[in-house]
């Protein structure tokens, strides 16, 4: 091994001498950008504080909804009568006495054309947490191996892409949430489980776009997703999507819209956020929300959300709000909810309080405990992937089938593997 200053140069391919200068330039660029952002944020904060007249906001929203202007993709107040003042802030409410929180997360092994056989695997993990009761949380896992050709190929016989696997995993997550909530609701109705509101937490947004150009069987995926949402609703569960690192700028777009002159409202001006372009909602609310506080509830203006509402009813329109779940420093998260949740003020308060309480369990890493554990239960480790591959190879040999081997993968493995030193006498 060629060790120089403790660095193994034999295995390095990135030439740092050529990168150092670029890193310095990147630093200068980001420094300049940060200063520009501070100025823009000041403008956004002024506009946010001024947005306290719901009537004026609705007037402007109606302009973009009922005219030839179609390019507005920003926030709007939640549907009336559940709308809240844009610049309003909700203080941290009291947690409910009891509640049941169910979270599901998933991970996957993508189909590998260079693997021993063609398959993909979705592993779901779920944790049911009984808030307000000293009761052991219930973990649950559900692995599913997909190996039927029809589910591995698109209509042209090509291998399905990773987006399709991801979307199928996401739908399976919501289906499992619905299944768990349904079972809980049944036991509560039968009196074998203590009555308590059921909250289901999905890791990610609820407003999903099933793009037919990217996904195999997009229409079927959308149908399956809504069936799962409907089952959640029928289970008397309150659903929420938790987005930890949000880059959304829907509220910023709303502020931009509110500060355009009437004759400036056109698709061209709505393509960007003008003077406050580049600022995110998280940056805005980090400056507005104190620890534990939430923003007003908004609805997303988008063709998808309109489609949700038109096809499945007003209760399925997706709304959102932001919470500062941070303790000493701001940590803004976006929570998406269907309007069957958003229309109940006490439920919104409970959801708000429970999410903050869940995030506080973990100390510094502010993230709902149930989601952390669901992820832990779902995550497929590298060693487990190798063990599964070995299991499949053994089974194939038992069935007198020679596992496929990829010359490409094996030759890459040879080149990537570590060198061996010649030792006298070996």
């Amino acid at each position: 091994m060629n060790l120089l200053f403790g660095v193994n140069f034999q295995t390095m391919t990135l030439e740092f001498v050529k990168v150092v200068d670029q890193v310095e330039r990147m630093g200068r660029y980001l420094g300049h950008r940060a200063q520009t952002m501070v100025d823009k944020l000041d403008i956004a904060l002024d506009w946010f504080t001024a947005a306290d007249d719901l009537g004026a906001v609705w007037e402007r929203i109606n302009v973009v909804r009922n005219s030839s202007v179609s390019g507005y993709r920003g926030a709007a107040p939640a549907p009336q009568p559940h709308d809240e003042v844009v610049s309003g802030v909700g203080t941290l409410p009291l947690t409910p006495k009891t509640a049941v929180i169910v979270a599901v997360d998933g991970s996957q092994i993508y189909p590998d054309p260079h693997g021993s056989a063609l398959f993909y695997l979705i592993n779901l993990g779920s944790l049911t947490y009984f808030y307000g009761r000293d009761r052991l949380p219930e973990p649950y896992t559900q692995p599913e191996l997909i190996f039927i050709e029809d589910l591995l190929e698109d209509q042209d016989g090509r291998l399905i892409n990773s987006q399709t696997v991801n979307t199928r995993r996401t739908i399976a997550e919501v289906q499992l949430l619905a299944k768990r909530a349904w079972a809980l609701d049944q036991t509560m109705q039968a009196g074998t489980e203590e009555n308590a509101p059921i909250f289901t937490i999905h890791d990610g947004n609820l407003l999903k776009f099933f793009n037919p150009t990217e996904l195999v069987d997009a229409w079927q995926l959308e149908t399956d997703y809504f069936r799962a949402l409907q089952k959640l609703h029928e289970s008397n569960a309150f659903a929420a999507g938790y987005i930890d690192r949000t880059s959304s700028s829907s509220v910023i777009s709303l502020l931009h819209l509110l500060n355009l002159q009437p004759d400036e409202i056109n698709d061209a001006n709505l393509k960007t956020n003008g003077q406050i372009e580049g600022i995110s909602d998280a940056q805005l609310f980090a400056a507005v929300l104190q620890p534990g506080e939430r923003s007003a509830v908004f609805a997303q203006s988008s063709p998808q959300n309109k489609d949700y509402k038109d096809k499945y009813g007003a209760e399925y329109e997706i709304a959102f709000f932001y919470i500062n779940v941070g303790d000493t420093r701001p940590h803004i998260v976006r929570i998406e909810i269907p309007m069957w949740v958003g229309r109940h003020k006490p439920v919104m308060d409970h959801l708000h309080a429970l999410l903050v309480a869940q995030c506080a369990i973990q100390g510094r890493e502010r993230y709902p405990y149930v989601l952390t554990r669901a992820d832990e239960l779902a995550y497929i480790k590298q060693t487990e992937r190798q063990q599964l591959d070995e299991l499949i190879r053994i089974e194939l040999r038992r069935q007198q089938i020679t596992p496929e081997r990829s010359t490409k993968l094996e030759s890459k493995g040879m080149a990537r593997s570590s060198r061996r030193r010649y030792l006298l006498g070996t």
């Binding site: 000293d134 052991l136 949380p137 506080a360 369990i361 890493e365 952390t372 832990e376």
Partner: protein, 205 residues
């Protein structure tokens, strides 16, 4: 000394000089004590048993456990979840100090190690008394490497003394003290330290 279930754990890894056994953190009770005498079968027919002393108990952490500790208040359900569902393993390390064969004790290393996943249990009071009738195990403890032999010997002697009727405890301790003095006659500093560890505490005036 032994009440209810006397299971300490199951063997994870072993050699003739000792073994590590594991159990769930929720199963931790009075059975896993530093200096306790344990026994484990080393043959399928249960005719041979290794006899050992617990010299270390380890509980591993992970990043999530560290985060839970950092919270202002540790949530009780998260604590239950961590102990029961996350199956935090507790490792109990044992050093061999003898073995039993057909009911007789030998004060030497066992002829073979126990197999993985075999149940390790505490010795009963009767077994401890019979094993410590002779004090030859003290030599093995004093010569043990990678453990704290002086503290381990003291803990083991105090543990064993409770297996005896109260009227016999003093004599047992004196007998063991004498044997230790013989073995450490060349190292008075160490001897003095062990004797101070096993001496009965002075009554508070």
């Amino acid at each position: 000394m032994t009440q209810g279930s006397d299971v300490v754990g199951r063997v994870l890894r072993a050699s003739t000089s000792g073994f590590d056994c594991g159990t769930r953190s929720s199963s931790i009770n009075g059975n896993q004590n530093f200096g306790a005498f344990v026994t484990v079968p080393i043959t399928d027919d249960q005719n041979q048993h290794a006899v050992g002393l617990i010299y270390a108990i380890r509980i591993d952490d992970d990043p999530l456990a560290r985060e839970l500790v950092m919270a202002a208040n540790v949530d009780n359900n998260a604590l239950l979840d961590h102990r029961e569902n996350r199956m935090v393993p507790v490792e109990i390390c044992v050093i061999n100090v003898g073995y039993a064969q057909n009911g007789a004790y030998y004060y030497n290393l066992p002829p073979r190690p126990p197999m993985s996943l075999i149940e390790v249990r505490l010795m009963t009071s009767n077994e401890v008394c019979r094993f410590t009738e002779q004090t030859d195990f003290i030599r093995l403890v004093l010569n043990a490497r990678d453990v704290k032999p002086d503290e381990l010997l003291a803990a083991a002697l105090i543990y064993a003394s409770y297996a005896y009727p109260e009227s016999e405890r003093y004599d047992f301790m004196v007998r063991c003290g004498r044997r230790t003095a013989q073995l450490l006659s060349h190292d008075l500093k160490r001897l003095s330290h062990i004797l101070s560890l096993i001496s009965p505490p002075e009554p508070i005036s």
